[in-house]
Symmetry: C2
């Protein structure tokens, strides 16, 4: 095949080709994402309202629906050079294994110590906090990738970092905790007795293994109540998708270099940080009517925000201390089955992606975790990279689409996001290796419990 001779296994851009500006997909959206609103007044949150929670520059980015390109400060670009550009890999070995005419590419974001794409936004958020003269930041972490990324960014810049880590991850992943401690972070299992909201949740449910929503509540409470601190978040927010656009911009630049036009772009979706970043420039072309792509979000069947959630205003956290965001949500009280080891456990979804999905500009599918780990194992064996369970959701659907091409004979070009590595997910792999993994799909009754907690007010019917 002629193309085989020309396209290398890994397409690397040079450091000079790292984007100089982030791309803000909101600028090209006809229907903008709904604003965050105050849960009491239902009025849109102003910059002043958000200032006690987020640092000023990030508030401006959060609220900016109009500026298409925002400069990446040189200091952040310098940090990016430590691990970017990330490679766009042609999955020759996977194609051969599947015996498919499809051409498969993946953008690999795992070649850094945080093990995922999360570092792209962590350094940006830490940088703006430092620039504002703050002492430190608080955050939550689930699987631990975001907490690790933020710890690394804070160590680099000399900022304090307090991480609330979902208790089940804290216990299942002691090594993640030690990476964060090596980078100087203070790590607390959530729910904890260090916050009002944590004590309340523990009193109501002493055996809870925690949730992202609950850890967010604790981190926000501490940030708002501590002088010189702000809260930072690794997903969901508009600012995060902005920073993560480096993934998509690099992907597009690498594809353009070889004249490759993808037919579909596939990404896993928890809060939407990777998917939103990966697809943004492609979605921009689609929104501007320049080109069409299939864009596919993949979520776990055990936490199906897009495919079974409601598109309404809801709290971003379990403790109901955050503003309301309009998004696909399972309800802030929804906690996925403890049997689900595959990450992507957040009840809601990025408001930007929610709006795009609502407007029919992207698709969503849900997959069960045994099938996800089957794909992960196959991928590891042929492509050599042990993927994160989260990323493996995208691998699953990329494989499924490539197998469809095998049936139809179509030579489609598939691009998917390989967000990270699974080196800290071996408890889950062990379960899979031992045949002890099970799939839990919430019943309608179980979902109804989460939906019942969604705030009701005029215009927010579910």
């Amino acid at each position: 095949m002629a193309q085989n001779e020309k396209i290398p296994y890994k397409i690397y851009l040079s450091e000079e080709e790292i984007p100089r500006q982030w791309y803000n997909v909101r600028a090209d959206m006809k229907n903008k994402p709904a604003p965050l609103i105050n849960p009491g007044t239902h009025e849109p949150m102003s910059a002043a309202d958000l200032a006690p929670v987020f640092c000023d520059e990030l508030v401006a980015q959060e609220l900016d629906n109009d500026t298409a390109y925002i400069d990446i400060p040189q200091e952040i670009r310098d940090f990016y050079k430590m691990y970017r550009p990330s490679p766009l890999v042609r999955a020759y070995c996977l194609e051969e294994k599947l015996d498919t005419p499809a051409k498969i590419y993946y953008k690999f974001e795992g070649n850094n110590t945080s093990g995922s794409h999360k570092l792209n936004s962590a350094i940006a958020q830490a940088y703006y906090a430092k620039k504002q003269g703050l002492k430190g930041v608080t955050t939550e972490t689930g699987a631990g990738q975001w907490g690790t990324a933020l710890s690394m960014a804070c160590a680099y810049l000399g900022l304090d970092c307090k991480v609330y880590m979902v208790k089940c991850s804290y216990e299942q992943k002691p090594f993640r905790r030690e990476v964060m401690r090596t980078y100087g972070a203070q790590v607390t299992p959530s729910p904890s007795d260090t916050t009002q909201v944590g004590r309340k949740i523990l009193a109501e449910n002493p055996d809870t293994t925690g949730s992202l929503g609950c850890a967010i509540s604790e981190a926000v409470e501490v940030a708002v109540g501590t002088e010189g601190y702000r809260y930072v978040l690794g997903s969901v927010l508009n600012q995060v998708l902005l920073h993560q656009s480096v993934i998509g911009l690099e992907t597009k630049a690498a594809l353009d270099k070889y004249g490759i036009v993808p037919d579909m772009i596939i990404g896993c979706a928890g809060g939407g940080s990777n998917l939103g970043g990966l697809v943004s420039p492609f979605m921009g072309e689609k929104l501007r009517g320049e080109r069409d792509y299939r864009i596919i979000a993949v979520e776990p069947a055990s936490c199906p925000s897009f495919t079974r959630g409601k598109f309404v205003y809801d709290f971003c956290d379990t403790g109901m201390v955050t503003p309301l965001a309009k998004m696909y949500t399972l309800g802030s009280g929804f906690i996925p089955s403890a049997n689900h080891a595959g990450g992507l456990r957040y009840h809601g979804m990025s408001p930007i992606l929610s709006q795009l999905y609502h407007d029919g500009l992207m698709e969503a599918v849900s997959v069960e975790q045994t099938a996800v780990f089957e794909a992960a194992e196959m991928f590891a064996r042929v492509e050599g990279i042990l993927p994160a369970p989260e990323s493996s959701h995208a691998i699953r659907v990329a494989i499924d689409e490539a197998l469809k091409c095998k049936q139809t004979g179509e030579e489609k070009t598939i691009v998917f996001g390989l967000t990270g590595t699974g080196y800290f997910d071996l408890v889950a792999y062990e379960k899979y290796n031992n045949g002890e993994m099970d799939d839990h799909i919430p019943t309608d009754e179980e979902l109804a419990v989460g939906f019942a907690g969604i705030p009701r007010f005029e215009g927010n019917e579910i």
Copy 2:
């Protein structure tokens, strides 16, 4: 600084620039490494003698002291393309942190799922086994990097893989075991009751936590006793240093691209696989009188083969089932303190490196593990990569040399090998984070116990 503008953070070669031939430093050595000998007859091992243990092509490579360049088969180069060329990184952030005029570069071999350089030889050894029509291979692993690498290579080629894992690592690193299992390997803690030698060692010392030397004995016994199997080894052997020369060849090509001439090259040394590979082309220039470099081996003070060992013939394994190799050794019965968490626990050293060290062509220093982890933490925080404890030995000495430059004002160029990542070494990092790490330096009396086990015969006085 003008150079800062020109030299990127990471120098990447293209896939086309992956070496097409390995470099065999023995060809340029005036004093060749001593041959392996039969422990009974003290005669050099012939190809026929080695054939039951190693596959034929590898025996040929093991015995070839003359061919300077050996072709890398295309299939192996294709596998290399999945994770090579590895970057040569300019440690700008470390230089700034140290405020040194030294220029520091590191060749980073950790960006693959095995987490180290070991994959370079694993794929070669698995390839030749497959080519010979074998069913599978056996090996030992200590920290787990080699076992993981071999599992990956075997999964890729469809070979069986039986790994004997040093018991203390098996227990401290259950996740390493799961990675290997994900790649389809059969992993057994060593010593085990699956071999004669294992049962003997267990009978004599039921509480032993194992050693590399002991695991080698078991793996060799199984290979020799099982139809269609051969034994493979991740370090020490001449063939391994040959395969690992890709590290040095790429390093040299990257330096040459920017006209950089290093003053010193630093590598950690356990059995010598990384150091031997990294330094080989530079050593070649030195041996041919073309250029001079300082070449520095760094070993743990708790397992000081070079700095306190004897240069004699000794067994490669604890069970004394292997041929004898002439090398710097602490005695095959030497087992480093269980308190030592920093890897590099092998009692002997590559015969090639041993000869070069004996001939005054390289230096060796030993470092204590607390100092090693201090260097690891500093490196992680400024360079963003969590290093393997093994690699951190080289970091320690690179930092020490850079600090000397700060005192003298010399702008020396330092290149060191960053062999791998520490994602599976968090038990050790946790000890360090908790201030519970201690340094054990063996006393002369403790070393004497190991030396007592070295075979004595005419010409092998210690």
